[in-house]
């Protein structure tokens, strides 16, 4: 599905990603964990195409195409989805109109006709249930006045609507109470299939009780310093990030 090779990225003069290698196959869930400032969110932003970051080396092959050459919208149209750590409020643009535009631009990219209004509304209804999102929220302006939990549920709702091949969840668990966490996780698990894949970026092991990863990677100082199965997350939880820092400080410098 996606192959990341020797990815380096900087913001200004500061190099944040310092050679990331990662391979993800369809049907897999990969968790990326790491202490604050290790580059987790940068990785998510670089994949989605945020212009603030400059890729200095490496490549990202997504379904056979090097997406680093693509605009953010084309990456999304190719099936990449970023669930934002901080979803953006857009006053005056209704959630529904926003999703209809997104869905139809993605369809147009693939040479498909616009989705009939009736089918679209049926899809909205179906996916709304998945994340227990109030119908009223769907009609409101994008994320405007939403609580933290509602924003994150709205991200998963959008993901469900757009049905991406690869979804990157950037600290979707941050700021969520246990109920919201369960709802978000249920949504993700319902969307999981043999055809798609997930990258779950998180600081804590907690989310991984609900979304069980096939692989766990530890990111530190812009590099993946350790990979393993879900047990690695538990070990990390028990020992804390200080252990990682001690062990890899010299390796990554």
């Amino acid at each position: 599905m996606i192959t990341i090779k020797n990815l380096h990225a900087s913001i200004g003069d500061k190099e944040i990603l310092r050679g990331i290698d990662l391979e993800i196959k369809a049907g897999e869930i990969h968790a990326i964990m790491g202490p604050n400032g290790s580059g987790k969110s940068t990785l998510a932003s670089v994949l989605a195409g945020r212009e603030d970051y400059e890729v200095t080396q490496g490549e990202v092959i997504f379904n056979g195409k090097n997406i680093l050459e693509m605009s953010p919208e084309d990456r999304a149209r190719e099936g990449l989805f970023l669930a934002f750590q901080y979803p953006v409020e857009i006053p005056g643009v209704s959630n529904i109109n926003f999703l209809k535009t997104a869905l139809n631009e993605i369809r147009a990219y693939h040479g498909q006709e616009e989705m009939p209004a009736k089918d679209f509304l049926a899809l909205v209804k179906e996916k709304q249930k998945l994340v227990e999102l109030d119908g009223k929220l769907a009609n409101r302006s994008v994320n405007e006045g939403f609580s933290g939990g509602e924003k994150k549920r709205n991200e998963v709702f959008q993901m469900a609507m757009l049905n991406p091949k690869l979804a990157v969840l950037d600290e979707t668990d941050s700021g969520l109470d246990i109920d919201a966490l369960r709802i978000v996780a249920t949504g993700v698990n319902a969307l999981k299939s043999k055809e798609n894949a997930f990258i779950v970026i998180t600081h804590y092991q907690r989310l991984l009780d609900y979304i069980v990863p096939d692989f766990v990677h530890i990111l530190y100082n812009g590099k993946i310093v350790k990979s393993g199965t879900k047990e690695l997350a538990l070990e990390l939880e028990a020992k804390g990030y200080d252990e990682v820092k001690k062990q890899f400080e010299n390796v990554t410098k």
């Binding site: 953010p72 989805f81 857009i90 005056g92 643009v93 926003f98 631009e105 994008v142 757009l162």
Partner: protein, 424 residues
Amino acid sequence: MLAEKTNTAQLIIDKISATAGKVDFIDNDKLSKALMYLENKGIPSNKHEDYKYCNTDAVFKKEFKNIEQKLNTISDVKNYKLKDALTIVVVNGNYSESLSDKIILKGLHLTSFSSLDKEQKQKIGTLANVETDAFIALNTAFSGAGFYLKIADNEQLQIPIHILYVSSAGSEALVNPRNVIEIGKNAEATIIEEQICIGTEKVFTNFLSEKFVAENGKLKSYTFQNEGKNGFSVNTNQVSIERYAKYDNTTITLSGSLVRNNHNVVLAAQNCEAHLNGLFTTKDNQLVDNHTLMDHQMPNCESNELYKGIINDKSTGVFNGKIFVRKDAQKTNAYQSSKNILLSDDATINTKPQLEIYADDVKCSHGTSTGKIDEVAVFYLNARGIGRESANKLLLNAFAQEVIDKIEVDELKEKILTLFENEL
């Protein structure tokens, strides 16, 4: 300097005098004062404080060197009609009875300027003082044969009146449409004034309207300006509202090479209320200049203004909003807000709130903001597969919505929304 100014005015007078119709509905005293004012003061240049960003003298010198007044006749306006409205048509400043709908609404009286009675004639020019502005003077001296519209006391019109001002010429031309609109006591009306320019040549439209809203009367007024490249206009609305009256205007400007709006409202008695809203989009080298005046003369009145501009390319937008609270106007509530989005590095916006307050117990506030399109929001939309162009459209639509939502005539709202989206 004075000689130069006078020059432009004199040239205009010379060029249009020969073909101008007789202005026998305005008394001679006002006519001669108008001509004198015009000759003395000239067409305003950017040296004039009120026309600092709108150098009309230069516009005449550059764009209207060859005014020949070859005015076109118009045989049909059906493409511009609204379905559920009564249409009144003015062509090149003159009321056209043949293109207008027959007036069969109870309580609605329309009189062409050629058939006014004495009382009506006396009302003309009472709000628009010829010695305050060169364009009022110019319009007065060469006024087109407009109309006097009166809504009788206690009548509430159920359908909107759509006044279509068409300008069209086969040479450079200057036209001076004018009207008087009077809303009687306890009367209510919705009036849409639309300005279009459909000829092959440039036309300068110097529009003037005097609007009276009597005690407890309500006027919902919409101004829709879409004149295209050939359209240049100065549009003056002189409004006076009485006790318990309410005046609402929403001005939408989508095109026109030069659009200068002077919207002056006198809140002349206690407990009345005025709202002015505006939305304009500019591109290329366009200039849209909204000048408003809320003149609070008496206590317990309220005024509200919201103007939004989307400025692109090398174009310029201006908002100058003056709130004048006179000594007697205690307990005034007056608010003003101007918000603008600049879409290009070469675009300019000049906004100036002007508060002159002589009463001590009032609530007045103003705010202005100017920014670029929110790139954080654009990225969020991009990340969902929405391209740059659609993202801009969604965000600009959202920005404009607050003003477009003020339009309560559905048909007009849809028409403007469609044209607005095409402009983006």
